[in-house]
């Protein structure tokens, strides 16, 4: 069993020293997600400026995979447009669902950068939800932010 194929050094670094952790104002969308199998949870906020994700802030409890995944998410989508952010989210899902296929990881390196390190998680079905928890919260929070934006008043 190659533990290191899941726990790549980049993941452990993000776990030990998470980027952008903590909830911040202002924000237009917020989502709380929980993994019912283990009780892990995350609250994640997005702050949009027009079409651009200005900030992603988050707080929660969870294993190294879920914590590192949220830290990488923060780095990846800050400063990206909504469209780019959703595309990155879709690529991350493809990576995690590839069952650890390094060729898939290589093809997504441009889009996912450090996050390709999560490719090994796909070999451990019990841990896939850990890696995706923050990304589910991001998608949900973005949906809320867009509803508010289309209303045009709040924020």
């Amino acid at each position: 069993m190659q533990l290191e194929s899941m726990y790549q050094e980049i993941i452990l670094d993000h776990y030990r020293d998470p980027h952008g952790r903590g909830l911040r104002e202002p924000y237009e969308g917020e989502s709380y997600q929980v993994n019912p199998t283990c009780g892990d949870e995350v609250t994640l906020r997005v702050h949009l400026d027009g079409d651009v994700v200005q900030d992603v802030s988050y707080e929660g409890l969870g294993c190294s995979i879920s914590q590192a995944s949220q830290s990488v998410l923060h780095d990846l989508v800050r400063g990206k447009t909504l469209e780019q952010t959703l595309a990155i989210g879709a690529d991350f899902l493809t990576l995690i669902q590839s069952k650890g296929d390094q060729a898939v990881a290589d093809s997504l390196e441009e889009s996912l950068d450090d996050a390709v390190a999560f490719v090994g998680v796909g070999k451990y079905p019990a841990r896939i939800k850990c890696a995706l928890l923050g990304w589910m919260a991001l998608k949900d929070a973005l949906g809320q932010a867009r509803i508010i934006q289309s209303g045009g008043h709040h924020g």
Partner: protein
Amino acid sequence: MSLAVDFDVETIRKDFPILERRLADDRPLVYLDSANTSQKPRQVLDTLRDHYEQHNANVARAVHQLGEEATAAFEAARDKLAAFVKAPSRDEIIFTRGVTEGLNLVANVLAWADPPYRVGPGDEVVITEMEHHSNIVPWQLLTQRTGATLRWLGITDDGRLDLSNLDDVITERTKVVSLVHVSNMLGTINPVAEIARRAHEVGALVVLDAAQAVPQLPYDVTATGADLLGFTGHKMLGPTGIGVLWGRRDLLAALPPFHGGGEMIEDVRMERSTYAPPPHRFEAGTPPIAQAIGLGAAADYLSALGMDAVAAHEREITAYALERLQAIPDVKIIGPTTVQDRGGAISFTFGSLHPHDIGQVLDSYGIAVRGGHHCAKPVHRRFGVPASTRASGYLYTTRAEIDALADGLEQVRRFFGLR
């Protein structure tokens, strides 16, 4: 011949083929997840195979030879289980899918039962903060649906039930007190007879979740003070999909059916039906036949070893595990830290590390533990942790396996650079 004097773990292990398994990287299996499900001895596996190969037929409805053999074996299993828990009558043994079904059965029929058992508006049901979700949610459903109120006993800091307000929580309004005998998370053995005494003073029924108790302790259902009690087969060397609900005979006879279907009836007309007496009233449909017979074989196996010896081994291995784990810096045991009134499940935290990460690294050394909330989220909340790691041994667990766990935790520390 008394096997009890010869309780020898190495001999016992030879009966469990899975304990020979080699895992990835040729690691031997160190199975410390027995509170989740126990492994099965060859004697149980052979019984299952023999049933399917030689005697398979449906029960209680076939006049052919196989049907008679299957029925005889199925009903013999009922006798074995009755003897195993010292039930006063074999008719008090209802085969269920497991404790979860047994508790749901009780919580459901109490909504429809005739007085004095019916739970309705103004009545109270008392549980504890220590319960497995299967002894919480069915009572939430019952009380929400009937307008009754759910109350509970709390837990002390050292992992015991807080009985200081027992007389305030269990009152004249209490209709049911349902609690766990041995906690699946804290390991605590609860003083069930004392709580049952208070419950009976006010005329309440006592329901016990004995999922962790029956596999570990010499058991006498009457001595517990319970009126109804559930346990499950797969935690006591038996197959999955089979459990037992024991109930006092006169009480069972007064309760209405749960599932409707074949085998639970006396007569069926298009307008209405009449029902069979217990236990069949509560066993609608084709039961898990092979599983019940397999559970009978598991009870035989445990009885041959002697439950006193099984319990003594459990205490010894638990004491050793408590000692080894507490000697590891950053390990914090949640629940009683001595074997006094304590079962075999040991839940702990390890620094700031998450149980998933701990379990994953231990698994790479072949060590199987459980990480998560163990279907007991309120207990975790009570102790301020979202999840824990749980090690649980059984009659086949060796001191060397506990040593492997302790060594494995040091590898976990190294891998993550525990802060």
